[in-house]
Symmetry: C2
Subunit: 326 residues, 2 copies
Protein backbone atom coordinates (compact mmCIF):
# COMPACT_ATOMS: atom_id res chain seq x y z
CA UNK A 1 0.00 0.00 0.00
CA UNK A 2 1.37 3.40 -1.07
CA UNK A 3 0.34 6.53 0.88
CA UNK A 4 -0.27 9.34 -1.58
CA UNK A 5 -0.70 12.99 -0.67
CA UNK A 6 -3.38 14.19 -3.06
CA UNK A 7 -2.85 17.87 -2.24
CA UNK A 8 0.03 19.87 -3.65
CA UNK A 9 0.05 19.00 -7.35
CA UNK A 10 -0.51 22.07 -9.53
CA UNK A 11 -3.35 20.23 -11.26
CA UNK A 12 -5.18 19.68 -7.97
CA UNK A 13 -6.41 16.51 -6.21
CA UNK A 14 -8.24 15.32 -9.33
CA UNK A 15 -4.93 15.04 -11.21
CA UNK A 16 -3.39 13.01 -8.40
CA UNK A 17 -6.42 10.72 -8.24
CA UNK A 18 -6.24 10.18 -11.99
CA UNK A 19 -2.53 9.37 -11.66
CA UNK A 20 -3.21 6.87 -8.88
CA UNK A 21 -5.81 5.13 -11.03
CA UNK A 22 -3.43 5.10 -14.03
CA UNK A 23 -0.60 3.56 -12.00
CA UNK A 24 -2.48 0.33 -11.39
CA UNK A 25 -0.90 0.30 -7.91
CA UNK A 26 -2.87 0.02 -4.70
CA UNK A 27 -2.75 3.44 -3.05
CA UNK A 28 -4.32 5.23 -0.11
CA UNK A 29 -4.97 8.88 -0.92
CA UNK A 30 -4.93 11.75 1.58
CA UNK A 31 -6.85 14.80 0.43
CA UNK A 32 -10.31 16.29 0.01
CA UNK A 33 -12.31 13.05 -0.34
CA UNK A 34 -15.02 14.74 -2.42
CA UNK A 35 -12.47 15.37 -5.19
CA UNK A 36 -10.89 11.92 -5.19
CA UNK A 37 -13.51 10.16 -7.29
CA UNK A 38 -14.30 7.34 -4.93
CA UNK A 39 -10.74 6.05 -4.58
CA UNK A 40 -9.54 4.55 -1.31
CA UNK A 41 -9.00 7.77 0.61
CA UNK A 42 -8.68 9.51 3.98
CA UNK A 43 -10.49 12.85 4.00
CA UNK A 44 -7.72 15.38 4.68
CA UNK A 45 -8.50 18.70 3.03
CA UNK A 46 -5.76 20.73 4.78
CA UNK A 47 -2.83 21.51 2.53
CA UNK A 48 0.51 22.89 3.69
CA UNK A 49 1.76 25.43 1.17
CA UNK A 50 5.25 26.57 0.25
CA UNK A 51 4.85 29.86 2.11
CA UNK A 52 5.00 28.49 5.66
CA UNK A 53 8.16 27.42 7.48
CA UNK A 54 7.91 23.66 6.86
CA UNK A 55 8.89 22.18 10.23
CA UNK A 56 6.63 24.55 12.14
CA UNK A 57 3.75 24.06 9.69
CA UNK A 58 4.02 20.28 9.93
CA UNK A 59 3.93 20.38 13.73
CA UNK A 60 1.05 22.84 13.75
CA UNK A 61 -1.14 20.91 11.30
CA UNK A 62 -1.31 17.24 12.31
CA UNK A 63 -4.46 17.03 10.20
CA UNK A 64 -2.74 18.16 6.99
CA UNK A 65 -2.72 15.62 4.19
CA UNK A 66 1.07 15.29 3.94
CA UNK A 67 1.37 14.85 7.72
CA UNK A 68 -1.32 12.16 7.79
CA UNK A 69 0.16 10.39 4.77
CA UNK A 70 3.63 10.34 6.34
CA UNK A 71 2.15 9.12 9.63
CA UNK A 72 0.43 6.26 7.83
CA UNK A 73 3.85 5.17 6.58
CA UNK A 74 5.52 5.66 9.94
CA UNK A 75 2.84 3.59 11.68
CA UNK A 76 3.05 0.79 9.12
CA UNK A 77 -0.36 1.33 7.52
CA UNK A 78 1.44 2.09 4.24
CA UNK A 79 4.79 0.97 2.85
CA UNK A 80 5.93 4.13 1.04
CA UNK A 81 5.05 7.81 0.68
CA UNK A 82 4.45 9.74 -2.52
CA UNK A 83 3.92 13.51 -2.63
CA UNK A 84 3.60 16.07 -5.40
CA UNK A 85 3.54 18.90 -2.86
CA UNK A 86 6.30 21.33 -1.93
CA UNK A 87 9.61 19.74 -1.03
CA UNK A 88 9.94 21.41 2.39
CA UNK A 89 6.76 20.08 4.02
CA UNK A 90 7.29 16.64 2.47
CA UNK A 91 10.80 16.45 3.93
CA UNK A 92 9.62 17.75 7.29
CA UNK A 93 6.71 15.30 7.51
CA UNK A 94 8.88 12.39 6.39
CA UNK A 95 11.58 13.27 8.91
CA UNK A 96 8.99 13.41 11.68
CA UNK A 97 7.13 10.19 10.88
CA UNK A 98 9.04 7.98 8.45
CA UNK A 99 12.38 8.72 10.15
CA UNK A 100 15.97 8.34 9.11
CA UNK A 101 17.62 4.95 8.77
CA UNK A 102 19.87 4.06 11.67
CA UNK A 103 23.45 5.13 10.98
CA UNK A 104 22.54 7.64 8.28
CA UNK A 105 23.81 11.18 8.92
CA UNK A 106 21.35 12.99 6.68
CA UNK A 107 18.81 11.90 4.08
CA UNK A 108 19.56 12.98 0.51
CA UNK A 109 17.15 14.16 -2.11
CA UNK A 110 18.08 12.22 -5.22
CA UNK A 111 16.86 13.73 -8.48
CA UNK A 112 16.50 11.52 -11.54
CA UNK A 113 17.67 13.62 -14.46
CA UNK A 114 16.23 12.51 -17.79
CA UNK A 115 19.19 12.98 -20.13
CA UNK A 116 20.11 10.69 -23.04
CA UNK A 117 22.11 7.79 -21.61
CA UNK A 118 20.44 8.37 -18.22
CA UNK A 119 18.58 8.86 -16.08
CA UNK A 120 21.42 10.31 -14.07
CA UNK A 121 20.88 10.36 -10.33
CA UNK A 122 22.03 13.63 -8.75
CA UNK A 123 22.22 13.69 -4.97
CA UNK A 124 21.90 15.58 -2.70
CA UNK A 125 19.65 17.94 -4.68
CA UNK A 126 18.85 20.02 -1.61
CA UNK A 127 17.72 18.06 1.45
CA UNK A 128 20.47 19.73 3.50
CA UNK A 129 23.11 22.35 2.78
CA UNK A 130 26.07 21.38 4.93
CA UNK A 131 29.05 19.62 3.37
CA UNK A 132 30.79 16.83 5.28
CA UNK A 133 32.97 14.13 3.74
CA UNK A 134 31.21 11.29 5.57
CA UNK A 135 27.87 12.48 4.23
CA UNK A 136 29.15 12.57 0.66
CA UNK A 137 30.37 9.00 1.11
CA UNK A 138 26.94 7.92 2.38
CA UNK A 139 25.24 9.69 -0.53
CA UNK A 140 27.40 7.69 -2.94
CA UNK A 141 26.41 4.38 -1.35
CA UNK A 142 22.73 5.30 -1.10
CA UNK A 143 22.61 6.51 -4.70
CA UNK A 144 24.30 3.40 -6.05
CA UNK A 145 22.02 1.13 -4.00
CA UNK A 146 18.97 2.90 -5.42
CA UNK A 147 20.19 2.57 -9.00
CA UNK A 148 20.93 -1.14 -8.49
CA UNK A 149 17.80 -2.09 -6.62
CA UNK A 150 15.12 0.12 -8.15
CA UNK A 151 16.39 0.99 -11.64
CA UNK A 152 18.24 -2.34 -12.12
CA UNK A 153 21.51 -0.67 -13.18
CA UNK A 154 24.32 -3.08 -12.36
CA UNK A 155 27.30 -1.57 -10.57
CA UNK A 156 26.41 1.97 -11.60
CA UNK A 157 29.27 4.38 -12.23
CA UNK A 158 29.57 6.93 -9.43
CA UNK A 159 31.25 10.32 -9.72
CA UNK A 160 31.97 13.06 -7.22
CA UNK A 161 31.06 16.53 -8.50
CA UNK A 162 34.06 18.86 -8.35
CA UNK A 163 35.92 21.60 -10.21
CA UNK A 164 38.38 19.31 -11.98
CA UNK A 165 38.93 15.64 -12.69
CA UNK A 166 42.13 15.27 -10.68
CA UNK A 167 41.84 13.76 -7.19
CA UNK A 168 43.33 16.90 -5.64
CA UNK A 169 40.72 19.26 -7.10
CA UNK A 170 37.91 20.64 -4.95
CA UNK A 171 37.16 21.65 -1.40
CA UNK A 172 38.90 19.83 1.47
CA UNK A 173 35.62 17.94 2.06
CA UNK A 174 35.45 16.75 -1.55
CA UNK A 175 39.10 15.74 -1.53
CA UNK A 176 38.60 13.70 1.62
CA UNK A 177 35.46 12.03 0.27
CA UNK A 178 37.36 11.22 -2.93
CA UNK A 179 39.98 9.38 -0.92
CA UNK A 180 37.43 7.35 1.02
CA UNK A 181 35.41 6.44 -2.07
CA UNK A 182 38.56 5.41 -3.96
CA UNK A 183 39.25 2.84 -1.26
CA UNK A 184 35.66 1.59 -1.18
CA UNK A 185 33.68 -1.09 -3.02
CA UNK A 186 31.68 1.17 -5.35
CA UNK A 187 32.26 1.56 -9.08
CA UNK A 188 33.75 4.97 -8.34
CA UNK A 189 35.26 6.76 -11.33
CA UNK A 190 36.57 9.79 -9.42
CA UNK A 191 35.69 13.44 -9.82
CA UNK A 192 33.30 14.60 -12.50
CA UNK A 193 32.67 18.19 -13.62
CA UNK A 194 29.57 20.18 -14.39
CA UNK A 195 29.73 19.18 -18.09
CA UNK A 196 29.46 15.52 -17.15
CA UNK A 197 26.02 15.84 -15.58
CA UNK A 198 24.02 16.57 -18.77
CA UNK A 199 26.38 14.32 -20.75
CA UNK A 200 25.55 11.32 -18.49
CA UNK A 201 29.26 10.55 -18.09
CA UNK A 202 28.34 8.66 -14.91
CA UNK A 203 25.00 7.37 -13.58
CA UNK A 204 25.31 8.65 -10.00
CA UNK A 205 26.60 12.18 -9.34
CA UNK A 206 27.37 12.88 -5.69
CA UNK A 207 27.50 16.38 -4.23
CA UNK A 208 26.36 18.43 -1.26
CA UNK A 209 22.78 19.71 -1.20
CA UNK A 210 23.72 23.32 -1.90
CA UNK A 211 25.74 22.61 -5.04
CA UNK A 212 23.30 19.92 -6.15
CA UNK A 213 20.29 22.18 -5.84
CA UNK A 214 22.03 24.92 -7.84
CA UNK A 215 23.23 22.46 -10.48
CA UNK A 216 19.77 20.94 -10.95
CA UNK A 217 18.10 24.33 -11.32
CA UNK A 218 20.80 25.66 -13.66
CA UNK A 219 20.26 22.62 -15.81
CA UNK A 220 16.50 22.98 -15.93
CA UNK A 221 16.81 26.70 -16.64
CA UNK A 222 19.43 26.25 -19.36
CA UNK A 223 17.47 23.72 -21.34
CA UNK A 224 14.41 25.94 -21.09
CA UNK A 225 16.42 28.95 -22.33
CA UNK A 226 17.81 27.07 -25.31
CA UNK A 227 14.37 25.72 -26.22
CA UNK A 228 12.86 29.20 -25.97
CA UNK A 229 15.61 30.67 -28.13
CA UNK A 230 14.92 28.12 -30.84
CA UNK A 231 11.22 28.86 -30.53
CA UNK A 232 11.94 32.59 -30.88
CA UNK A 233 14.04 31.98 -33.97
CA UNK A 234 11.02 30.27 -35.49
CA UNK A 235 8.50 32.93 -34.46
CA UNK A 236 10.71 35.79 -35.62
CA UNK A 237 10.34 34.46 -39.14
CA UNK A 238 14.01 33.60 -39.58
CA UNK A 239 12.80 30.24 -40.83
CA UNK A 240 9.76 29.85 -43.04
CA UNK A 241 6.37 28.99 -41.65
CA UNK A 242 6.56 25.43 -42.97
CA UNK A 243 10.07 25.07 -41.57
CA UNK A 244 8.80 26.50 -38.33
CA UNK A 245 6.35 23.67 -37.85
CA UNK A 246 9.18 21.21 -38.33
CA UNK A 247 11.42 23.04 -35.88
CA UNK A 248 8.64 23.10 -33.34
CA UNK A 249 8.27 19.36 -33.80
CA UNK A 250 11.97 18.84 -33.11
CA UNK A 251 11.86 21.12 -30.06
CA UNK A 252 8.83 19.28 -28.72
CA UNK A 253 10.60 15.95 -29.14
CA UNK A 254 13.57 17.26 -27.20
CA UNK A 255 11.31 18.57 -24.48
CA UNK A 256 9.64 15.17 -24.29
CA UNK A 257 12.99 13.42 -24.16
CA UNK A 258 14.06 15.57 -21.22
CA UNK A 259 10.64 15.23 -19.64
CA UNK A 260 10.86 14.62 -15.89
CA UNK A 261 7.41 12.97 -16.02
CA UNK A 262 8.94 10.02 -17.81
CA UNK A 263 11.23 9.27 -14.90
CA UNK A 264 9.27 10.04 -11.78
CA UNK A 265 10.82 13.01 -10.04
CA UNK A 266 13.05 12.57 -7.03
CA UNK A 267 13.40 10.14 -4.14
CA UNK A 268 14.46 10.88 -0.58
CA UNK A 269 17.16 8.36 0.30
CA UNK A 270 18.26 7.35 3.78
CA UNK A 271 14.75 7.03 5.24
CA UNK A 272 13.26 3.89 6.77
CA UNK A 273 10.66 3.65 3.99
CA UNK A 274 10.72 4.94 0.40
CA UNK A 275 9.65 8.58 -0.02
CA UNK A 276 9.07 9.73 -3.60
CA UNK A 277 8.64 13.38 -4.59
CA UNK A 278 6.81 14.04 -7.83
CA UNK A 279 7.10 17.49 -9.44
CA UNK A 280 4.19 19.79 -8.63
CA UNK A 281 3.76 20.27 -12.36
CA UNK A 282 3.22 16.56 -13.04
CA UNK A 283 0.07 15.46 -14.79
CA UNK A 284 -1.53 12.05 -14.23
CA UNK A 285 1.22 10.21 -16.18
CA UNK A 286 3.94 11.69 -13.98
CA UNK A 287 2.03 10.92 -10.78
CA UNK A 288 1.49 7.36 -11.98
CA UNK A 289 5.19 6.87 -12.66
CA UNK A 290 6.05 8.27 -9.20
CA UNK A 291 3.62 5.82 -7.58
CA UNK A 292 5.06 2.92 -9.56
CA UNK A 293 8.56 3.97 -8.56
CA UNK A 294 7.56 3.88 -4.90
CA UNK A 295 5.97 0.45 -5.38
CA UNK A 296 9.13 -0.81 -7.05
CA UNK A 297 11.31 0.57 -4.26
CA UNK A 298 9.21 -1.43 -1.78
CA UNK A 299 9.18 -4.62 -3.85
CA UNK A 300 12.92 -4.51 -4.46
CA UNK A 301 13.68 -3.83 -0.79
CA UNK A 302 15.55 -0.65 -1.58
CA UNK A 303 15.84 0.26 2.09
CA UNK A 304 17.25 -3.09 3.16
CA UNK A 305 19.71 -3.15 0.30
CA UNK A 306 20.77 0.42 1.06
CA UNK A 307 21.46 -0.51 4.67
CA UNK A 308 23.47 -3.53 3.55
CA UNK A 309 25.46 -1.42 1.06
CA UNK A 310 26.24 1.23 3.68
CA UNK A 311 27.37 -1.46 6.09
CA UNK A 312 29.47 -3.30 3.50
CA UNK A 313 31.09 0.01 2.52
CA UNK A 314 31.92 0.83 6.13
CA UNK A 315 29.92 4.02 5.67
CA UNK A 316 27.45 3.81 8.55
CA UNK A 317 27.71 6.32 11.31
CA UNK A 318 29.59 4.66 14.12
CA UNK A 319 27.39 2.78 16.58
CA UNK A 320 28.56 4.70 19.63
CA UNK A 321 27.62 8.04 18.10
CA UNK A 322 24.45 6.57 16.66
CA UNK A 323 23.20 5.27 19.96
CA UNK A 324 23.50 8.69 21.53
CA UNK A 325 22.32 10.92 18.73
CA UNK A 326 19.67 8.65 17.28
Amino acid sequence: MIALDANGADGGPGTVAEGARLSGVEALLFGPASQLGGLHAVDAPTRIGADEEPVRAVRRHPEASIVQAARAVGEGRAEALVSAGSTGPTLAAATLSVKRMRGVHRPALAAMIPVPGGPVLLLDAGASVEVRPERLVQFAHMGAAFMESVLAVERPTVGLLSVGQEAGKGTPEVIEAHGRLSDGPLNFVGNVEGFDLPAAAVRVVVTDGFTGNVALKVMEGSSRTVRNLIGDAVRSGVVSRAGGLLVRGAVRRVRDQLDPERVGGAILLGMRKPVVLAHGSFGPAGIASAVRLARRAVDEDMVGRTAAALEAGGALRSASVGSVAG
Copy 2:
Protein backbone atom coordinates in the same frame (compact mmCIF):
# COMPACT_ATOMS: atom_id res chain seq x y z
CA MET B 1 49.77 48.43 -24.15
CA ILE B 2 48.14 45.02 -23.60
CA ALA B 3 50.36 42.01 -22.86
CA LEU B 4 49.02 39.01 -24.76
CA ASP B 5 50.10 35.41 -24.22
CA ALA B 6 50.15 33.99 -27.73
CA ASN B 7 50.52 30.38 -26.55
CA GLY B 8 47.60 28.40 -25.20
CA ALA B 9 44.83 28.99 -27.72
CA ASP B 10 43.66 25.78 -29.38
CA GLY B 11 44.21 27.42 -32.76
CA GLY B 12 47.85 28.14 -31.96
CA PRO B 13 49.89 31.37 -31.93
CA GLY B 14 48.75 32.31 -35.44
CA THR B 15 45.14 32.55 -34.26
CA VAL B 16 46.13 34.79 -31.36
CA ALA B 17 48.21 37.01 -33.67
CA GLU B 18 45.29 37.31 -36.06
CA GLY B 19 43.02 38.25 -33.13
CA ALA B 20 45.48 40.91 -31.96
CA ARG B 21 45.55 42.41 -35.43
CA LEU B 22 41.72 42.31 -35.65
CA SER B 23 41.31 44.08 -32.31
CA GLY B 24 42.92 47.28 -33.51
CA VAL B 25 44.44 47.59 -30.03
CA GLU B 26 48.16 48.02 -29.38
CA ALA B 27 49.41 44.73 -27.95
CA LEU B 28 52.68 43.08 -27.06
CA LEU B 29 52.64 39.38 -27.84
CA PHE B 30 54.56 36.69 -25.95
CA GLY B 31 55.07 33.50 -27.93
CA PRO B 32 57.13 31.89 -30.70
CA ALA B 33 58.09 35.04 -32.65
CA SER B 34 58.40 33.13 -35.92
CA GLN B 35 54.65 32.39 -35.81
CA LEU B 36 53.50 35.88 -34.89
CA GLY B 37 53.59 37.42 -38.33
CA GLY B 38 55.82 40.39 -37.56
CA LEU B 39 53.66 41.79 -34.76
CA HIS B 40 55.26 43.53 -31.79
CA ALA B 41 56.43 40.45 -29.89
CA VAL B 42 58.77 38.97 -27.31
CA ASP B 43 60.09 35.59 -28.41
CA ALA B 44 58.82 33.19 -25.73
CA PRO B 45 58.22 29.73 -27.18
CA THR B 46 57.77 27.91 -23.83
CA ARG B 47 54.17 27.05 -23.11
CA ILE B 48 52.82 25.85 -19.75
CA GLY B 49 50.19 23.20 -20.33
CA ALA B 50 47.20 22.10 -18.30
CA ASP B 51 48.96 18.93 -17.14
CA GLU B 52 51.47 20.54 -14.74
CA GLU B 53 50.66 21.81 -11.26
CA PRO B 54 50.26 25.50 -12.11
CA VAL B 55 52.06 27.24 -9.24
CA ARG B 56 55.06 24.93 -9.47
CA ALA B 57 55.16 25.18 -13.28
CA VAL B 58 55.05 28.98 -13.18
CA ARG B 59 57.94 29.13 -10.71
CA ARG B 60 59.95 26.58 -12.67
CA HIS B 61 59.53 28.28 -16.05
CA PRO B 62 60.26 32.01 -15.75
CA GLU B 63 60.82 32.00 -19.51
CA ALA B 64 57.31 30.70 -20.29
CA SER B 65 55.14 33.06 -22.33
CA ILE B 66 52.42 33.47 -19.69
CA VAL B 67 55.00 34.15 -16.98
CA GLN B 68 56.78 36.77 -19.10
CA ALA B 69 53.50 38.40 -20.13
CA ALA B 70 52.35 38.65 -16.50
CA ARG B 71 55.74 40.03 -15.50
CA ALA B 72 55.47 42.73 -18.17
CA VAL B 73 52.22 43.83 -16.53
CA GLY B 74 53.63 43.62 -13.01
CA GLU B 75 56.64 45.71 -14.01
CA GLY B 76 54.52 48.34 -15.71
CA ARG B 77 55.61 47.60 -19.29
CA ALA B 78 52.00 46.69 -20.09
CA GLU B 79 48.69 47.79 -18.58
CA ALA B 80 46.70 44.56 -18.73
CA LEU B 81 47.11 40.85 -19.38
CA VAL B 82 45.19 38.68 -21.84
CA SER B 83 45.58 34.90 -22.06
CA ALA B 84 43.81 32.16 -23.95
CA GLY B 85 45.82 29.50 -22.14
CA SER B 86 44.76 27.20 -19.31
CA THR B 87 43.16 28.94 -16.35
CA GLY B 88 45.53 27.50 -13.72
CA PRO B 89 48.82 28.86 -15.09
CA THR B 90 47.22 32.21 -15.95
CA LEU B 91 45.95 32.59 -12.38
CA ALA B 92 49.27 31.49 -10.94
CA ALA B 93 51.31 33.85 -13.11
CA ALA B 94 48.94 36.76 -12.44
CA THR B 95 49.04 36.13 -8.69
CA LEU B 96 52.84 36.09 -8.76
CA SER B 97 53.38 39.19 -10.88
CA VAL B 98 50.23 41.29 -11.24
CA LYS B 99 49.29 40.76 -7.57
CA ARG B 100 46.11 41.18 -5.62
CA MET B 101 44.64 44.59 -4.84
CA ARG B 102 45.27 45.78 -1.30
CA GLY B 103 42.41 44.76 0.98
CA VAL B 104 41.08 42.03 -1.33
CA HIS B 105 40.82 38.58 0.28
CA ARG B 106 40.86 36.55 -2.92
CA PRO B 107 40.59 37.38 -6.61
CA ALA B 108 37.47 36.10 -8.36
CA LEU B 109 37.17 34.67 -11.82
CA ALA B 110 34.16 36.43 -13.33
CA ALA B 111 32.61 34.67 -16.32
CA MET B 112 30.50 36.65 -18.76
CA ILE B 113 27.62 34.41 -19.70
CA PRO B 114 26.09 35.24 -23.06
CA VAL B 115 22.38 34.72 -22.40
CA PRO B 116 19.55 36.84 -23.81
CA GLY B 117 19.19 39.89 -21.57
CA GLY B 118 22.82 39.47 -20.50
CA PRO B 119 25.67 39.07 -20.42
CA VAL B 120 25.30 37.85 -16.88
CA LEU B 121 28.44 38.02 -14.78
CA LEU B 122 28.95 34.89 -12.65
CA LEU B 123 31.63 35.08 -10.00
CA ASP B 124 33.60 33.35 -8.60
CA ALA B 125 33.70 30.80 -11.42
CA GLY B 126 36.57 28.90 -9.85
CA ALA B 127 39.55 31.01 -8.77
CA SER B 128 39.27 29.57 -5.25
CA VAL B 129 37.04 26.99 -3.60
CA GLU B 130 36.64 28.19 -0.03
CA VAL B 131 33.44 29.94 1.03
CA ARG B 132 33.61 32.90 3.40
CA PRO B 133 30.92 35.54 3.83
CA GLU B 134 33.37 38.45 3.56
CA ARG B 135 34.65 37.06 0.26
CA LEU B 136 31.16 36.78 -1.17
CA VAL B 137 30.56 40.41 -0.20
CA GLN B 138 33.76 41.48 -1.96
CA PHE B 139 32.80 39.47 -5.05
CA ALA B 140 29.50 41.37 -5.18
CA HIS B 141 31.24 44.75 -5.09
CA MET B 142 33.92 43.74 -7.58
CA GLY B 143 31.36 42.30 -10.00
CA ALA B 144 29.13 45.35 -9.84
CA ALA B 145 32.11 47.69 -10.33
CA PHE B 146 33.15 45.73 -13.42
CA MET B 147 29.66 45.88 -14.90
CA GLU B 148 29.43 49.62 -14.27
CA SER B 149 32.89 50.61 -15.41
CA VAL B 150 33.61 48.22 -18.28
CA LEU B 151 30.19 47.16 -19.59
CA ALA B 152 28.50 50.49 -18.76
CA VAL B 153 25.59 48.85 -16.92
CA GLU B 154 24.23 51.40 -14.44
CA ARG B 155 23.63 50.11 -10.93
CA PRO B 156 23.55 46.48 -12.06
CA THR B 157 21.24 44.12 -10.20
CA VAL B 158 23.20 41.75 -7.95
CA GLY B 159 21.95 38.40 -6.67
CA LEU B 160 23.42 35.85 -4.29
CA LEU B 161 23.18 32.29 -5.59
CA SER B 162 21.35 30.05 -3.12
CA VAL B 163 18.81 27.26 -2.80
CA GLY B 164 15.76 29.50 -2.33
CA GLN B 165 14.79 33.14 -2.61
CA GLU B 166 14.12 33.73 1.08
CA ALA B 167 16.86 35.46 3.09
CA GLY B 168 17.09 32.46 5.44
CA LYS B 169 17.85 29.93 2.67
CA GLY B 170 21.36 28.63 2.11
CA THR B 171 24.52 27.82 4.00
CA PRO B 172 25.43 29.87 7.07
CA GLU B 173 28.02 31.70 4.92
CA VAL B 174 25.42 32.65 2.31
CA ILE B 175 22.95 33.78 4.98
CA GLU B 176 25.57 36.00 6.57
CA ALA B 177 26.63 37.49 3.22
CA HIS B 178 22.96 38.13 2.46
CA GLY B 179 22.61 40.19 5.61
CA ARG B 180 25.71 42.26 4.89
CA LEU B 181 24.74 42.90 1.27
CA SER B 182 21.20 43.88 2.27
CA ASP B 183 22.66 46.65 4.41
CA GLY B 184 25.09 47.81 1.73
CA PRO B 185 24.97 50.30 -1.14
CA LEU B 186 24.65 47.83 -4.04
CA ASN B 187 21.51 47.21 -6.08
CA PHE B 188 21.17 43.89 -4.25
CA VAL B 189 17.99 41.96 -5.01
CA GLY B 190 18.60 39.12 -2.56
CA ASN B 191 19.01 35.43 -3.24
CA VAL B 192 18.66 34.01 -6.72
CA GLU B 193 18.34 30.35 -7.71
CA GLY B 194 19.90 28.21 -10.41
CA PHE B 195 17.02 28.96 -12.80
CA ASP B 196 17.79 32.68 -12.62
CA LEU B 197 21.26 32.36 -14.11
CA PRO B 198 20.26 31.36 -17.67
CA ALA B 199 17.14 33.56 -17.40
CA ALA B 200 19.29 36.65 -16.69
CA ALA B 201 17.08 37.57 -13.72
CA VAL B 202 20.02 39.64 -12.40
CA ARG B 203 23.18 40.91 -14.08
CA VAL B 204 25.67 39.87 -11.38
CA VAL B 205 25.41 36.44 -9.76
CA VAL B 206 27.62 35.99 -6.70
CA THR B 207 28.72 32.60 -5.40
CA ASP B 208 31.76 30.72 -4.14
CA GLY B 209 34.23 29.36 -6.68
CA PHE B 210 33.19 25.73 -6.21
CA THR B 211 29.49 26.29 -6.85
CA GLY B 212 30.21 28.84 -9.58
CA ASN B 213 32.51 26.51 -11.46
CA VAL B 214 29.96 23.69 -11.32
CA ALA B 215 27.12 26.00 -12.37
CA LEU B 216 29.04 27.39 -15.33
CA LYS B 217 29.97 23.95 -16.60
CA VAL B 218 26.48 22.53 -16.07
CA MET B 219 25.14 25.44 -18.09
CA GLU B 220 27.58 24.95 -20.95
CA GLY B 221 26.95 21.21 -20.95
CA SER B 222 23.17 21.54 -20.85
CA SER B 223 22.92 23.88 -23.79
CA ARG B 224 25.23 21.60 -25.74
CA THR B 225 23.05 18.57 -24.88
CA VAL B 226 19.85 20.29 -25.96
CA ARG B 227 21.42 21.48 -29.21
CA ASN B 228 22.73 18.00 -29.93
CA LEU B 229 19.34 16.45 -29.25
CA ILE B 230 17.71 18.79 -31.73
CA GLY B 231 20.45 17.97 -34.23
CA ASP B 232 19.82 14.25 -33.66
CA ALA B 233 16.09 14.70 -34.24
CA VAL B 234 16.97 16.19 -37.61
CA ARG B 235 19.50 13.55 -38.60
CA SER B 236 17.25 10.69 -37.56
CA GLY B 237 14.84 11.76 -40.28
CA VAL B 238 12.04 12.71 -37.91
CA VAL B 239 11.82 15.94 -39.87
CA SER B 240 12.23 16.06 -43.64
CA ARG B 241 15.54 16.91 -45.24
CA ALA B 242 14.32 20.37 -46.24
CA GLY B 243 12.97 20.93 -42.75
CA GLY B 244 16.28 19.67 -41.41
CA LEU B 245 18.19 22.47 -43.09
CA LEU B 246 15.87 24.99 -41.48
CA VAL B 247 16.21 23.38 -38.07
CA ARG B 248 19.96 23.42 -38.40
CA GLY B 249 19.73 27.11 -39.22
CA ALA B 250 17.75 27.78 -36.05
CA VAL B 251 20.17 25.71 -33.96
CA ARG B 252 23.12 27.57 -35.44
CA ARG B 253 21.52 30.91 -34.61
CA VAL B 254 21.02 29.79 -31.02
CA ARG B 255 24.59 28.62 -30.79
CA ASP B 256 25.74 31.99 -32.10
CA GLN B 257 23.52 33.83 -29.65
CA LEU B 258 25.06 31.89 -26.76
CA ASP B 259 28.52 32.26 -28.26
CA PRO B 260 31.14 33.12 -25.65
CA GLU B 261 33.28 34.65 -28.40
CA ARG B 262 30.84 37.53 -28.63
CA VAL B 263 31.46 38.54 -25.05
CA GLY B 264 35.12 37.92 -24.40
CA GLY B 265 35.46 35.11 -21.89
CA ALA B 266 36.20 35.81 -18.25
CA ILE B 267 38.04 38.43 -16.22
CA LEU B 268 39.99 37.97 -13.02
CA LEU B 269 38.77 40.63 -10.59
CA GLY B 270 40.59 41.90 -7.52
CA MET B 271 44.01 42.20 -9.19
CA ARG B 272 46.04 45.40 -9.48
CA LYS B 273 45.71 45.38 -13.28
CA PRO B 274 43.04 43.85 -15.54
CA VAL B 275 43.55 40.16 -16.37
CA VAL B 276 41.31 38.76 -19.12
CA LEU B 277 40.97 35.05 -19.86
CA ALA B 278 39.80 34.12 -23.33
CA HIS B 279 38.51 30.57 -23.95
CA GLY B 280 41.12 28.26 -25.43
CA SER B 281 38.63 27.52 -28.20
CA PHE B 282 38.38 31.15 -29.30
CA GLY B 283 39.15 32.05 -32.87
CA PRO B 284 40.53 35.43 -33.92
CA ALA B 285 37.20 37.21 -33.30
CA GLY B 286 37.07 35.96 -29.70
CA ILE B 287 40.69 36.88 -29.06
CA ALA B 288 40.05 40.35 -30.49
CA SER B 289 37.07 40.88 -28.22
CA ALA B 290 39.11 39.76 -25.18
CA VAL B 291 41.87 42.23 -26.09
CA ARG B 292 39.35 45.04 -26.52
CA LEU B 293 37.78 44.16 -23.17
CA ALA B 294 41.18 44.46 -21.48
CA ARG B 295 41.77 47.81 -23.20
CA ARG B 296 38.38 49.06 -22.06
CA ALA B 297 39.06 47.93 -18.48
CA VAL B 298 42.24 50.02 -18.53
CA ASP B 299 40.62 53.07 -20.14
CA GLU B 300 37.68 53.03 -17.75
CA ASP B 301 39.92 52.63 -14.70
CA MET B 302 38.17 49.45 -13.63
CA VAL B 303 40.73 48.78 -10.91
CA GLY B 304 40.48 52.24 -9.38
CA ARG B 305 36.71 52.18 -9.45
CA THR B 306 36.68 48.70 -7.93
CA ALA B 307 38.88 49.89 -5.07
CA ALA B 308 36.61 52.89 -4.53
CA ALA B 309 33.50 50.68 -4.56
CA LEU B 310 35.01 48.24 -2.05
CA GLU B 311 35.96 51.11 0.22
CA ALA B 312 32.57 52.84 -0.08
CA GLY B 313 30.87 49.52 0.68
CA GLY B 314 33.02 48.97 3.75
CA ALA B 315 34.10 45.68 2.19
CA LEU B 316 37.89 46.02 2.26
CA ARG B 317 39.85 43.70 4.48
CA SER B 318 40.64 45.61 7.66
CA ALA B 319 43.87 47.62 7.53
CA SER B 320 45.46 45.92 10.52
CA VAL B 321 45.03 42.48 9.01
CA GLY B 322 46.02 43.85 5.61
CA SER B 323 49.30 45.27 6.84
CA VAL B 324 50.34 41.94 8.27
CA ALA B 325 49.05 39.57 5.62
CA GLY B 326 49.71 41.73 2.58
